[in-house]
């Protein structure tokens, strides 16, 4: 990558053109994210400032491009200052660029820049004002030169992307501020369409997503309650479902090459949905008798009611996606056979449905009361099989699966449910709200406790021998590693044990003829840009590739794979999209500073816990959904708190083969 030449980032300004005593090492310290920027980037302009990497840059050209992009695409047309201010800038900069400018235009730029900075509604247009002010301050000479002789030709192409902290953080990059604003206007159908652009399972993720977006929310970074982005996503999905409204999706003619999707979980469903939207006839193969993957068989219905998933799947099926349940890869069909059946590409979204064993004594003895794993337990239950648990249950693990098992056992009538976890409560990977709910419902937690041995007599479980742990040195994950406390072993009485310490992909169906490479972690190996496996035409995504992650991650993988498969099938090649490249730049830029926007004070009501929970008595006697959605009134209040942290990032790239067109689709 080129050395940094000039930067203004927030309040930091650094000029490396002349010998100002600053070294390039200093630049890396000041702007740590620079390491991650692709090498061909010449300049980055954004709401936070700008970075330039080439000596011969012309700032007039850069800022002109920035303003042009705003006018053409990114100014929402809803703020008078933004619309007219950036138009005025565009006219003046255009004049200057053509060499028709006058000295007085600089005063005009100054003035319009100032009012944009002061009065634009959101950071998109506001940033153009700041950048113009920067230009006039640091590169006035270039403006004056352009006024006298126009702009030199520059061999650059530009990529722009609008984003927001929440949007960048979301693996699916849902246009969150847009749908939040639509909710404020009670435009549920449009809000849902906005979500569906990037994520077809709004009702599901509105319930079970860990919502990294909310942690990225500017409000959260200001120390206030974030916008409840996750629950707000449920609002339009529930509205459509409860009012039996048909999804406003057009049935497209499916004329592109046919594809097969293996696995009807979040990744497979997303792949199928987006392939369908791109005109491919899609056939889905699901090994289990019901679709949904881990959402269908892993998450209990009190968190994820079945009808929500069923409805979202039926929306996808109604578009013409063919779903075949009970067809397992390896058992009923092979990859080769799929190609022979006429499918031109295959997506593997097989999830990770195999439990990780505890590795303690007694685990494999076929003892009555000892389950092979949490997900096996939940799957059997969700598929309607006869599953019985005893009165005293011990669950081992600290993830969401462990909590799901605990709360499920409470609903099945167990009188005592213990959760044994070897680290502390703070280190639990599960959603803290889930833990809180489980505690409310009566689950007993034993932290810093590790199982050692299962105790049994006559083939029946009697108890579990555990040992106390304490925190030692940090391990590779940065968490302090728990180490056993000597002579602290103790026995817990129990008749049921559910180990839920992890899960991995079951890839036993793959044979060498399939030519699918597997990583050392036991996941399917793919190219991270194209999602293609080692076998040409076979793509993969979801937990089988990433290891167990969340629904949004699965959807993101499936969506990316779908776009890549489309590119592969229509152009014959599979290269990173400009969009992906831009995402990387964006992430690199955002990594330097969490917020790309000028935060404003939040002065709205709201931020209260507005979701209702089912009454405790009802909770434990049924599998009914525990948490309600938001009332429409709360949805309005909460959505009106959004600060609309949209920001535009423009990258000037020295490469011929990228069009100048923006990358937003």
């Amino acid at each position: 990558m080129n050395p940094l030449v000039f930067a203004r980032w927030g309040a930091t300004c650094a000029d490396f053109r002349a010998n100002t005593g600053l070294s390039q090492d200093g630049a890396l310290e000041m702007f740590p994210g620079l390491r991650d920027l692709p090498a061909n980037v010449v300049a980055v302009l954004s709401g936070k400032g700008f970075l330039v990497f080439e000596e011969g840059f012309n700032f007039v050209q850069l800022v002109r491009e920035y303003v042009d992009q705003i006018q053409a695409r990114y100014c929402c047309g809803k703020c008078l200052t933004g619309i007219k201010g950036t138009k005025m800038l565009q006219i003046a900069l255009g004049k200057i660029a053509r060499g028709e400018g006058e000295e007085s235009d600089l005063a005009l730029l100054e003035r319009v820049g100032a009012i944009l900075d002061e009065a634009a509604k959101c950071s998109v247009c506001q940033s153009s004002g700041e950048l113009v002010k920067d230009g006039l301050r640091y590169f006035r000479r270039q403006f004056i030169d352009a006024i006298s002789s126009g702009l030199p030709e520059q061999n650059l192409s530009y990529m722009a992307k609008i984003s927001a902290p929440c949007m960048t953080t979301c693996p699916c990059h849902i246009e969150i501020p847009t749908y939040i604003e639509l909710l404020q206007e009670t435009r549920y159908a449009q809000a849902l369409s906005t979500i569906r652009e990037e994520m077809p399972l709004a009702g599901v993720t509105g319930r079970v997503c860990p919502a990294p977006c909310e942690r990225a929310c500017t409000l959260a970074n200001m120390g206030k309650p974030p916008i409840p982005i996750k629950v707000l996503k449920r609002v339009p999905a529930d509205y459509e479902m409860l009012h039996n409204l048909p999804a406003p999706l057009e049935k497209l003619p499916l004329t592109a090459p046919p594809v097969a999707v293996v696995g009807a979980g979040p990744a497979g469903l997303a792949a199928a949905y987006y392939l369908n939207r791109l005109g491919h006839p899609v056939t889905m193969f699901e090994a289990l008798p019901a679709p949904g993957g881990m959402v269908g068989v892993g998450i209990p219905p009190y968190r994820q009611p079945r009808e929500v998933l069923t409805r979202e799947i039926s929306v996808i099926r109604d578009l013409g996606v063919d779903l075949r349940n009970g067809v397992a890869l390896g058992r009923d069909v092979t990859i080769q056979a799929l190609f022979e059946q006429g499918f031109k590409a295959v997506f593997l979204g097989i999830g990770s449905h195999k439990s990780v064993p505890l590795g303690i004594k007694g685990e494999n003895e076929g003892i009555q009361g000892v389950f092979s794993g949490g997900i096996d337990f939940l799957r059997a239950l969700n598929l309607g099989l006869n599953v019985t648990v005893g009165d005293k249950v011990i669950i081992v693990g600290g993830g969401n699966t462990a909590i799901d098992c605990a709360r499920t056992c409470l609903r099945l009538g167990s009188t005592e449910v213990h959760v044994v976890y070897r680290r502390t409560e703070k280190q639990m990977p599960s959603d803290p709200r889930e833990v809180e709910d489980a505690m409310e419902e009566g689950a007993i937690f034993h932290f810093l406790t590790q199982p050692v041995e299962i105790l049994w007599t006559d083939g029946r479980m009697k108890g579990l021998r555990c040992i106390k742990m304490e925190l030692g040195e940090p391990d590779a994950s940065g968490r302090r590693r728990p180490v056993p406390v000597e002579d602290s072993e103790f026995d817990m009485e129990a008749d049921t044990l559910i180990p839920a310490i992890g899960q991995k992909a079951d890839l036993s169906f793959l044979s060498p003829e399939d030519e699918i490479e597997i990583t050392r972690q036991g996941t399917i190996k793919v190219d991270k840009h194209t999602m293609m496996t080692s076998r040409s035409g076979v793509f993969a995504g979801g937990d089988a590739v990433s290891g167990p992650l969340t629904v949004v991650h699965g959807v993101a993988g499936g969506k990316l794979a779908a776009r890549m498969m489309h590119s592969y099938l229509t152009t014959g090649r599979c290269a990173p999209l400009p969009d992906q490249e831009m995402d990387e730049i964006l992430q690199a830029v955002e990594k330097q500073t969490h917020i790309l926007v000028t935060p404003r004070p939040e002065t709205r009501l709201g931020g209260r816990d507005l979701q209702k929970k089912l009454d405790m008595r009802e909770r434990l006697s049924t599998f009914e959904e525990v948490e309600s959605g938001l009332s429409q009134h709360s949805s309005y209040i909460e959505s009106s708190r959004c600060l609309r942290c949209f920001h535009l990032v423009l990258a000037a790239v020295k490469r011929e083969d990228y069009g100048a067109a923006g990358s937003r689709q």
Binding site: G77, T81, L108, E185, T186, R187, H243, L605
Partner: protein, 916 residues
Amino acid sequence: MTLCQRSVRSGEAAKPAYVSGCVAVLAHCAGIDYFPEGESMPSVTIDGVDVNATEGATILEAASKAGIWIPTLCYYPKVSPSDSCRMCVVEVEGMDRPVTACNTVALDGMRVLTDTARVRSMREEVMKLILMDHPLDCPTCPAAGECDIQNITYRLGIYGTDFPLRPREEPPVRNWPLIEYNPNLCITCLRCVKVCHEEIGASALRLRGAGYDARIDTSDGAALSCDFCGECVEACPTGAMSNKVFRRWARSWEFTKVATVCPLCSAGCRMEANVKDQRIFRITTDLDTHNRGTLCVGGRFGFDFVHSQERLLTPLLRRDGKLQPASWEEAVNFVAGKLRLIIGESGPESVSGLASPRLTNEDCYAFQKFFRGVVGTHNVDSEARFSFLRVQRALELTLGVRGATNTLEELLTTGAIFVVGIDPLEETPALGWKIKSAARRYDSKVIVANSRSTSLDPFAMVRLRMRPYSESDLILGIMKVILELDIWDKKFIHAKTSNFIPMKNLLDKISLAGILKRTGVSRESLEHAARLFAEASEAAIIFGGDVILQENGLQCVMNLANLALLTGNVGRPKAGLYPIFEKGNIVGLCDAGIMPEHMPGYQSVAESRDLFEGVWRRDLPYSKGLTVTEMIRGLESGSVRALYIAGADPLTDYPYSSRFAAAFDKAELLVAQDLFLSPTAEKAHCVFPASSFVEKEGTFTNIEHRIQKLNRVLPPPGEARPDWGALEAVATAMGRPMGYFSSRDIFREMALTIPFLRGLRWRDLDGDGVILQPPAATSERARGGKAYAFAPVRTWEKPTPLDAAEYPFEMMVGRSMYQFGATSTRSRHLRELCAEGYVEINPEDARQLGLAKGDRVEVSSPGGSFVSPVRVSDAVQRGMVFAISNFPGLGVYNLYQENTTVCRVKLSSVTVSSGS
């Protein structure tokens, strides 16, 4: 003292239920308690003034409460704030950037400055940006005088712009009916787009494009096709959205604005007639009204029927078989003479009268007094006989109320709304919008039961599309399911009702399977509806023509009352029943005693004889009066010789109108008072020209029993007189004057004789008027000592006529969304939207009959036939015909048999195609 009066002037005593906007939420807020659990009154200091704001109030609202002006351009109290114009920026101490007052909540201890150098300069710069391409052609702009840009620039002292840009020169959009969009004047503040979506729910507009090219467009990009309420015009702060109908004829400042009430439907929206040179050019309304400044197409655009060229200007007398102009003296003497003669020969019982819900309360009162006091008979009736009186009877028997039990405003925040047999958007748009808002902003669960699809369907959680005329059984089905699921309100029933067990015994004998078969509704949807309704915190029932007008109407309404009782939804806020009937003053007409069986105020003749004889100084007749049907029979048999009709047009509006036509031919004296020469008036011997609602004073009573005042906006055209005036003239000529010189005289008398008006003065009716609830007779109902009584239930199936095979279609009637009864069909503006009646048929039926949109079809029954254009729509089920009834001359009601609106018809294509 039976006066049960509630003041509902907005401003005072605002309650959450009265909030109409989502924005509601923040925006409407002065006085509204959003978070009841933690109510507090944040105290803010604005420009040094301490203001106690309501929790959730914005700085803007707090400032306006304190009388501090903050300029706004995109802010519109009805909708969610856009904060796009930046005019309302203010500085808050401790915040480094100015904030927008329109959407920043006033928090306790905040110190706000609204007029600092910084915000002044921001406002000026932004306004100059707005002005940089805004055509300053104010002299020719339709919004001149009412333009927010004009007002703000003037007040802020901004005289032009120094940003160099030429005005846009895009062509104005002129191909929309009634409304024009000039993109060059548009500042994309989104007020129109938001009001259309959030307040009206039509969602016909959107913002298209980005940046400087962003403009308002229709949702589908085609010519505007919507409810045409004109709210977008009202919302527009500039001249971008303009009202085509008054352009170029008058400037806003030339108007005199006269407050009045819309007569077209039973919602009774307040409005202001904008008058210049004795002509109404437009209708406006204020935010400070019970309708919250919202009007529908009828109110906003339908007023021009009063200026129709077809208005009757002089009395007409039939001479040589033709109606010819005559003087009032001639006409009055003719009628008085003839009446005296007939009364002399055959007694007062040979004279009868029909009044109309288009008349004011005072007209109606004078009408019945004319018959009871001058002629000497109780023979007065109206079309309420076929509709509203049934409802009143049913509700009186069960709940002890007459008409709607609760206010319209309460519907906004109720838990569930069951809409049966009506499309409220067509009958009473104001109510339809409330239901939409309730569904979209307040989580209200809407259940729609209708044999057609309605405009509320997309807002409903359950849609019950039952067979025509099976509403009654459908309701019984819901009740059965509620009992079966054990979700009925036992406590309420025990404490407040009688006759539950007898009702239940009858209900138990009716099989649910039979109900499902007769209604064609699935058990699942019935159960879903039952659960939503019974489990809601409170639930309201709205029902209309399809329920009321059917042969089984009385039973059907009683079933609905039973359903409300079964779920405990009577006698408390946000619950209850709302009967909706098309015409404006149907409630007032009944209150005023236009019925043979009751004196005004629903008093029995026996009990109120002394009162009326004392006030009127006349003897009341002892005979029993005739109902409409009996009058017709009387005309046919010759026992009724004279019929006096005020405002009504039985030949257009009454079922079995062909029988009326024949009977009218037999009348020796047929007198009509009307605005136009209606089909009925054409048959009359004498026609008096009547004053329209803008040409007289008087009062109207809307569906929630709100009495409001009409003011005289214009003098009557030609020699037209108010209806009571014509009656007074005839009474005087008969030698028995009623003693009225103005509507106020009549009102004063009504306040003496009608118990629930007692003590009310004319000036009490200013503004939003007064909501009254007339008490109902309790004797029949209260035998059990309880407030409410269940009515017996029975199942009812529409009989299949013998000639069903010959007449394969079921005809249902209703009206076009753009028309309100027969008068509005004389409005040029409304004719632009709907110029003639039509019939709607299912696409499948159309295919089989070889009919396409625009083809003409003959619709015939054994009673008669009419020819009208066809529209093809899957809103109607197969085997159904939906006919628009309110165009005079079409004679849709000719096809009906007596006393029913069930009508089977056949369709035959008329070969002349309209060339579609």
